[in-house]
Symmetry: C2
Subunit: 599 residues, 2 copies
Amino acid sequence: MTPVGFDRVTFSDGFWQKIRAQNAAISIKNVYRRFEETGRFAALRCQKQKEPPHIFYDSDVAKWLEGAAYLQREFPDEEVRSIIDEAVNAIVENQLPCGYFNSYFQVYEPDKIFTRRTEHELYCAGHLIEAAVALDVCGVNGRLLAAMRKYADYIYLRFYVRRDAGFTTCGHPEIELALVRLYLHTGEKRYLTLAKFFLDERGVREEEIYPFADRAYDQSHMPVRMQREAAGHAVRALYLYSAMADVGRIAGDEQLIDTCRALYRDVADKKLYVTGGVGSGWFGERFTIPYDLPNADAYAETCAAIALALFCHRLAQTDNRAEYHATLERALYNSILAAESANGKGFFYENPLEADARYAKYANTIPGFPHKPLLQRAEVFGCSCCPPNLVRFFAQLGGFVYGEEGEVLTVNQYVSSQVSACGIRLSVQTDIPFSGNVDIRADGRGTLSLRLPAWRTFTHCEVDGKHVVLQEIDDYAYFEVEGSTHVKLVFGMQPRFVYANERVRADSGRKAVEYGPLVMCAEQADNGDELFSVEIPSLENAVVSCGKDFKILVPALRLRTESSLYGYSAPQKQPFTLTLIPYYRWANRGENDMQIWFL
Amino acid sequence: MTPVGFDRVTFSDGFWQKIRAQNAAISIKNVYRRFEETGRFAALRCQKQKEPPHIFYDSDVAKWLEGAAYLQREFPDEEVRSIIDEAVNAIVENQLPCGYFNSYFQVYEPDKIFTRRTEHELYCAGHLIEAAVALDVCGVNGRLLAAMRKYADYIYLRFYVRRDAGFTTCGHPEIELALVRLYLHTGEKRYLTLAKFFLDERGVREEEIYPFADRAYDQSHMPVRMQREAAGHAVRALYLYSAMADVGRIAGDEQLIDTCRALYRDVADKKLYVTGGVGSGWFGERFTIPYDLPNADAYAETCAAIALALFCHRLAQTDNRAEYHATLERALYNSILAAESANGKGFFYENPLEADARYAKYANTIPGFPHKPLLQRAEVFGCSCCPPNLVRFFAQLGGFVYGEEGEVLTVNQYVSSQVSACGIRLSVQTDIPFSGNVDIRADGRGTLSLRLPAWRTFTHCEVDGKHVVLQEIDDYAYFEVEGSTHVKLVFGMQPRFVYANERVRADSGRKAVEYGPLVMCAEQADNGDELFSVEIPSLENAVVSCGKDFKILVPALRLRTESSLYGYSAPQKQPFTLTLIPYYRWANRGENDMQIWFL
C-alpha cells in the first residue's frame, strides 16, 4: 500500500479540519513564540550566549519548520513564512564548510563534534533533514534541502566511509528514518545505505550508553534484527522501528520486516494503553514489562504515541492490515489528541489515564519529589519535543487517510475530505468520532476499499440508495466504482465497555467506556471527586448527548456516606448520573480528578 | 491505665514465646554480627577509621543494647553479656568530659558538635538514653545510665539553660520520649522539663530543614500542639507523638492530650494500612495524604509500625480505649511480625502489601531506578534502624499485655503468660492467632477486665464451667475474682472479608481476608502468578487448615486463558483453590508475587 500523500488530500469542513485550522492559526504561532522566548530560534544564529542552548534545541526548531512547511501549503501565512525563511537562512549561513550544523556543538564544544554518542547530534540532524524534505516537497523553501544534503553527505563520509567518528550509532534514533525520507525524496542511494548501516550497526558492540540507564534504553542491547520485544525509551524505540519498517520494505528485507511485525505485536498485545499511549514507565520514559500499564503514573509521552502512529503508518505500507490503521486511529483520537488543549495552546508531555488532583497538589509541596504528576497542559517545556511534534503531526494528517494498493483506492481513516487516486475522484463526509455516519461519493472507474473500524457495533451500507450486505475481507469492504456511486455507511456506535486483559494490574476488575474510536473519561468538573470508586453496572440506559460538547450520561453508583477506614461489610453506594466526556477533552477546566477505568 | 512492666510478665509456651526465644537465640546475635562486620560496634571506640561511621550508627547499637538488656533478664547469655559490657565500656571511656558522646561528631567533626539540626545527634542520644534505662531496669549494667545522665545534663545545659547550641530541636525526634523515660526512671524533673521544652519549641521558628524536604517532613511545619494531621517522615512523627502523649499524660496537659487524640484519629481513620503499617510514601518515608495507601509501593517502614505501637501504648495510658490496643494488635500480628523472616535472621525495612516479582526483576536491571521494590528480607541495611528496633520491640513485648487501671487488672493483649497485679494471680493460655480459645485462671481477689477483640465473630464465655453472657462496656468485659476463678473464652474466628474505605484508590473494588488478628495473603509459591486478578466470590466454603503451617483454602476464580490486551467482553475466569497464608509469613520462600487485596 502506498499512502496517498498529504498534499493530494483536500480536507473539507469537519472534525479534523477544525483542528488543522487551529493548528495553523494558533498552535504553530504559539509554539513559535514560546520557542523564540526560550532562545531556540536565536540559537540557530550560532552566537555564544550566556546560557548555552540545550543540545536538542535544533530538533525542536526542525519539527516546527517541518510542521510549518506542511501548513504553508494550505494555510499560507506571511508571518510564518518569514520565520521559516529566517530560520533556514540562519542554518544555511552558519553551517560549517564541511556541512555540519549543530547550534550547540559548533559554538560551545567544536572539538567534541561527533565524539559523544549520547548527545543527540544525529537526532538533531535527522529532524533538520525531515524539515528540509518537507520544505522542499511543499515548495516553501529549497535552500534547507541543499544544505541538509551536504550535511547528510558529511555524515556519510564520517560514519560510513571514513568511520572516524567517536561513535557508530546515535543514542537517540531518528537519523535512520530521516535518511530514508531523504533517499525517497532525492533518489540518492547512499542515504538509504547509510540508514541501513546505522540500523545494522546498532547493538552489535558495546557503545557508550547513558549513565542512568541500561543498554536497552536506547535499543542497543542487541542487534536490531534480534529484537522481538519493545524495550527502552519509547520514542527512541518507535523512531527506530519506523526506520526498520522503511528499510525492510524498500530493500525487501524480510528479516527486518518480520522483526517489525514481532515488535508491533509485542506493543499491541502487551504494552499499549487503551488510549493508544505507549511507554508506561516515567523513569526513562520507556517501555517496561508486559502488561505494566499503570494509569495515574502512566508516562505515555505524546511523542511516543506520535511515533507509534508513524510506525503503524509504515507497517501498513508493507501489509495493509486494518489493525495497523486501528491502532493509529486509537492513538490519534485519544492519546495524541488529548495532548493538545482545546484552545490549541497548551500541550501534555505525559498523558496519564487517571488524575488525582489532591495527590498532585501534595507532590508539589515536596521539594525533590521524583515524579510530579502534571495535570495541566503547558505551552513549553524544558525538553519541549512534544509541542512541535503535535504541530507537524496534525499538519500532515492527510497522509494517513488514503492508500493506493495496486489498482485499489483504500480508505484507511474516515476524515471529511476529497482525493483523486486509482481512477476515482472521492469525496468523504463524516461525523466520526461523534456518530458513525459516512457519506461517500465516488466518480470514475476503479475499485474502492473501505476499512471497517474495529469499534463498530454494526454496519449498515447503502449503495445508490439500496441496502447492500457488505463483503468483508480482513476488515475491509470492496466496491467497484463505475461512473458515479454514492455509498452511505453507518458504523454502529454505542457506548460500550472495553475490558483490559486481566494481566494488567491497574485495570484488573475494571472496565472503560468506548464510543466509536473515542475512549471516554469522567472528570471532577462534571462529577465531583472519588471517581475511581464509581461503579457502572450497565450501559443500557446510557444517553449520548451530541450537543455543543459531546458527552455520555450513564446511570452509575458512587460512595454513599463516610465510613471507617476498614470494615467487615461491603461499601454501600448510591445511584447517580455519571457524565463521561471524550478523553481528549480532559483537563480543559483546571486541575481536577479524571478517571477512565471504572468498577 | 498503668501498663504492667514487661519485667513482671512471665511468658509461657505459645506463639509469642517461640518468637521471643528465637529473638534471644538467633536475631540479637545475628544483628550483632552484621553490625560488628559493618563497623557499628567498632565506631564506639572513637578511633578514626578510613570510612567514618554513619551519623546514626550509635542509635543502631543503642537499640541493640536496649533489646539485649531486656533479653538478658529472661535469656541470659554470656556472649551477649560481654558484648553489652564492652560496648558500654567503649561509650563510657570515650564520652567527652562534658558528657557528650557521638562516635561520628567527636571523632570527625568535633567543631560541628550541636551545630547541624539535621544530623541526628539528639536522636542518637535519645536511643543511648533508652538503652541506659533498659540496662539499669534489667540490672544488667548500671554504668551507661550514669554516663547518659551526664550526657542528658549536658544537653539540658546547652539547649535549655544556655541555649547556645546551633539549633533548638533535633531534625529526628526521639530525644523527647527518651527524656521522659529517663525522668520516669530517675525521678529527675529537669529531664521532663527538657522533653517538654523540645516539644514546645518545635515548629515555632524557621529552623534548618532537610534540603530534599518540606518543613512537615520533620514535623516542624507548625507548633506541635497545632498539628492535627499526621505528616512527614512516619517514624519521626510517631516518636514525636509518643513523647507528646507521655508529656501530656504526666503533666496533665489536656491540650497536648487532645492533639494526640486528633493525630491518632487521623492515622487510624485515613492513613493506616490494613496490616498496621503506616507512612505510605517511599519518597521521604512518610505520611502523604488521606487514603493514599498504595499496595505494591507501600513504604510502611518497620520502624514506623513499631513507633505506631509505641504511640498506641502511650495513648492507652491516658484513656484505656480498646481501639488503641486493637491498632497495636493489628500492627503487631501483621506489619511488625512480617518484618522478620521465619528464621529470625532477615528483616524488611519496607513492608509492601503486594509484590510483583517480575517488576522487581525489571527494576533491578535499570541503574538509577528511583525506588526498587525489595521482595526479600536482608540481614542488614546501610540505614539499618529496623532490625535492632524489632529485636528490642519483641524483647519488651510483655509490657504491652496487661494494665493496672485503678484496682482493675486489664488484659489488653492475649498472650500465654502469667502475671500478678491488682490482687490477682493470673495465668493466660491461648492459641491466638490460630484459634480464638483463651483459658484464664485467676486467683485472689479483685477485678479483672478483658479486652474483647474487634475481630471476633462471636464470643462464648464460661466461668467455672458455666456459660455466662458477658457484660461488655466499651469492648471490655469485667469479672469479679474471688478465690480461684476459671474463665474460658472463645473469640469466634472465621475467615472474613475486610473492605477498605472506597476512598482508598488502591483497594477500591477489592477486599482482603482476615482471620482473627491476622491479615491473610496469597503467594505465588502456593498459587502461581497473576494473583491480583484473583476473585473470591465468597468465603463460605473456606477451609482453615491448622497443620504445621497455618493456611486457609478458599474457592476462588482466576484467569482462564490468554486473551487480547483489550476486548469488548468481560474476562472469563475459572475456579481454583486459593491458598492463603498469614501476611507475616510472606517472602520466606524466595522472591515471588504476593497479594492481599482481591477482587
